[in-house]
Symmetry: C2
Subunit: 356 residues, 2 copies
């Protein structure tokens, strides 16, 4: 049993707290621990730290290692550049294959929030036992709570084993982010699940699937295989990544493969895609505020404040998100957090790299 | 001709920029110059700096002197504690009397804004020439532009000299801050003026008026007279101020005296009583924003931002006042600036003196 934690995201949606040098997964957005620390701890009952691989970008490898002081260096796989999830997963599979070709691997994004860990462990255990005894590619689908248009959906099909009462389903179809009417119809039908980006499979199963669906990527991986653990490894990965096409595992593999299953899950999952999402899932005070740091309020409600150094004082305001960092201050209307990217774009255009 | 600039205010309404150690009149709220510097410059065509007295509190004397490097030390009168305007004006009158008992003195608050200086100089010139040749107490009344409930009003009566066409009026009555219906009726009648707190009179006239209306204060002033300019001056003033009752010149003298005149003025006056008032009188950009410092906006309007060190970024917000200082950050809904005092009260109750 291995776990692969994908920690490659840039996460400008949490600007100014998230930066190029400090993406979302490395942030302490919810309390004491960072999202990646929470992710690794959550999986611990199933996969001990010895069997955890973290895949991240070169700019973040040091920070990742600092957050896991006991994690051996060789369990951090460093991608020379982001190429989306398929190459990331392929590289991790290759690395695990070298240790144990028959291993089962769990793939987890580093930056999601899960509020009910026991239910998560249950769902994952089901996925693991299913993947272990078969060649299926198993994905974890989230029972939707709202007609979200920001997530991909997976349509569940027939039960895998109608006689056993198991919850595992065959996949009828993958659907990209829908418009609102479509999302509403998905929710009504009750057979659609949010694509959580969590996968479970045997190393041999995903390697075979890569060979069939992404032969060019598979060929690059084969060429890399001999260099892993040698002094040539880094240079070989760098050259391969220069050639490898960026493509997601969903689009590149899952939507094309025929042996895909879905394990439905309902464990308070959130991909924490924005400041709005963070406010929504956070515990609030009596005025529906989420206040971190030195903050006083006089008639203020429905707001989130992250104060770092300064005394932040809210008077007569509502539905604001206020984030103070060493050098920047964001004041955002709640519900508009998708527009943070517009501010980041302004910074990019002005070449204010210090703020990015 | 002497000018007395009253600079005793504490000005918590501009917190966190204004502090106990840095009240409103010492702030640069509008541009290059502080309000007190603007006040002294504005009067310069009528009263050169040699004849300007500034009355301020002990905590602010150094700052006042720093803002007027060429002003002789003895032209800054330091009150050991605030006792409202009547003692302040009495002390200044005493000081001028010592130089020239027949002088005319102009009394000006240090922290008001005037947008049309030539019209202000005109009105003041009329007041000065009226006061010089009589014993009248002359006040400058502002032609109201709106039914303000935050100002006191003065009702104009008969013209002083109906034959000359002069604008100078006798005063029919003083009115305290009215409720809104009353303020509306004042505006409709057209004979009411805002009480600007600006006065012109001969030193001998105001001393005589103090003797009649505030005999106890007058007695204290008489006792002080011999100590002015001696080593005993500071101690004598301190002891007198321990005994002197706090009272405004309006309530203590003007409302009781019978020889009061009003010179109507219309010169873009504003007492700048709040952040809202500052937004209202400031020049705006195309989105109706007033932005000072390092600020970027993405869909933000009708707001005022004072940034000091940090890059302040507004996304999707409107009608906010945002003020960053070294140690604090205020985020205020426009229209609620009267509630800033509630936040200051919280600080006082927590004994967070560093922020006051």
């Amino acid at each position: 049993m291995y776990a692969v934690v994908m920690a490659g995201g840039r996460g400008t949606r949490f600007w100014p707290l998230s930066r190029e040098s400090k993406p979302k997964q490395l942030l302490n957005l919810r309390g004491e621990k960072t999202l990646i620390q929470e992710t690794v701890e959550r999986i611990a009952p199933l996969v001990p730290l010895d069997n955890v691989l973290i895949v991240t970008g070169a700019a973040h490898a040091d920070d990742v290692m600092a957050q896991f002081p006991t994690l051996p260096r060789e369990q951090v796989l460093v991608e020379p550049r982001g190429r989306n999830t398929a190459p990331c997963i392929g590289l991790a599979a290759l690395s695990i294959k070298k240790r144990d070709p028959e291993a089962v691997m769990v793939v987890l994004p580093a930056d999601h929030v899960i509020s009910r860990t026991p239910a998560f462990i249950d769902a994952l255990s089901t996925a693991i036992s299913t993947a272990r005894k078969s060649n299926y590619l198993v994905t974890v689908g989230i029972k939707p709570e709202a007609p979200e248009t920001g997530y991909g959906y997976i349509e569940g099909g027939d039960p895998l084993s109608p006689d056993t009462g198991s919850s595992v389903l065959r996949v009828a179809s993958f659907r990209e982010k829908p418009d609102l009417p479509t999302a509403r119809s998905f929710l009504e039908k009750g057979t659609f699940y949010w694509n959580s980006g969590m996968f479970v499979w045997k190393v041999s199963s995903i390697m075979k699937a890569l060979q069939e669906t992404l032969p060019e990527l598979y060929r690059e991986l084969l060429m890399l295989e001999g260099t892993l653990g040698t002094p040539d490894e880094n240079e070989a990965i760098k050259e391969a990544y220069d050639r490898i096409e960026a493509i997601s595992i969903d689009y590149g593999v899952m939507e094309k493969a025929s042996n895909v299953l879905i394990v439905p899950g309902d464990f308070g999952w959130n991909d924490l895609g924005s400041w709005d999402a963070l406010w929504a899932i956070s515990e609030k005070d009596g005025n529906n505020n989420v206040l971190r740091g030195n903050v006083i309020t006089a008639d203020a409600c429905d707001s989130l404040v992250f104060s770092k150094d300064k005394l932040v004082t809210l008077v007569g305001v509502d539905n604001l998100i206020v984030v103070e960092t060493d050098d920047a201050l964001l004041i955002l209307k709640r519900g508009h957090s998708q527009d943070v990217k517009n501010a980041v774009e302004i910074l990019e255009n002005r070449e204010w790299k210090g703020y990015l």
